[in-house]
């Protein structure tokens, strides 16, 4: 029997710095999409022991699992790899929702540093002011021409770009170009 398969990173290099900011490929989390079947949302919430967030503005964490809204009728549950998230969800809500493994569908690029908001603003067309997009906020939107899920992990200084794996290298390039372009003079950082 051949050896086990080795994982291959979606982008190279996994860490890069420019203009005092860093862009890193973050460790993969097990990600399961939860699509409630018709009329099952309430029982699903009971089964999960939480209330799935009603807006994109909030994420909910319980038992090491983070829940965030992923579409008009879908949510993502994420947990560190190796914690058996799919098995746990299957046990509690198999009949209530479509569960689909999305762990390898996307990767997350993390932009950190002073001016991260200014750099992100170059490619993301939503208002990132901390009053409207603070820590824990997510948005399904675009980075340039690439669909992303943007999450603020620290106001002004840390943003996570979650992107379909096949787009990751292209997005990595675009973020790097934005970083190299520097922070506009009119920005307050």
């Amino acid at each position: 029997m051949p050896e086990t398969l080795a994982a291959h990173p979606a982008v190279t290099p996994p860490l890069i710095t420019a203009s005092g900011l860093s862009l890193t490929l973050t460790p993969t989390r097990e990600t399961i999409s939860i699509g409630p079947f018709a009329g099952c949302l309430a029982s699903l919430n009971t089964a999960l022991g939480i209330t799935l967030p009603e807006t994109f503005a909030t994420t909910i964490a319980a038992d090491g699992v983070v829940y965030s809204r992923a579409a008009h009728d879908q949510w993502f549950a994420t947990a560190p790899e190796g914690t058996g998230l799919m098995s746990r969800l299957e046990a509690s809500c198999m009949k209530l929702a479509a569960l689909t493994n999305q762990t390898d569908s996307r990767v997350t690029l993390s932009l950190k540093g002073i001016g991260a908001r200014a750099i992100t603003s170059k490619i993301v067309p939503i208002d990132l002011h901390p009053d409207f997009f603070g820590p824990g906020h997510t948005a399904l939107t675009l980075a340039g021409h690439i669909p992303i899920i943007l999450t603020c992990s620290n106001a002004d200084t840390a943003y996570d770009f979650t992107v379909f794996r096949s787009f990751a290298q292209s997005l990595h390039h675009d973020i790097l170009v934005a970083m190299n372009g520097g922070i506009p003079n009119s920005e307050r950082v």
Binding site: A71, H72, T141
Partner: protein, 92 residues
């Protein structure tokens, strides 16, 4: 132009895809041929408010019913298509 998605908030046009008239209803399989021709090919071109379908493909993947003024691009309302009046009941 910007649309305020009921799920995602105010977003720019490039996140959405236009489909067209939201007052059309898919005819029954055995409906008269003319009903099908109307549904598939014939469109009104109103000057003023128009109820139309848009898809927030880059965002929440919801189909939306947008009431838009075709003369001014003013948006009167944006609502989720599934929450809109049941397609088979209304026939406006």
């Amino acid at each position: 132009m910007r649309l305020t998605c009921p799920h995602c908030g105010a977003r720019a046009l490039e996140e959405f895809t236009y489909r067209g008239d939201a007052t059309l209803r898919r005819p029954a399989e055995d409906a008269p041929h003319q009903a099908w021709v109307d549904y598939v090919y014939l469109r009104d071109d109103p000057a003023g408010y128009h109820s139309e379908l848009w898809y927030h493909g880059v965002g929440c993947r919801a189909w939306l019913v947008v009431i838009r003024n075709t003369l001014t691009h003013q948006i009167k309302s944006v609502s989720s298509a599934v929450a809109s009046p049941a397609p088979n009941k209304s026939d406006s």
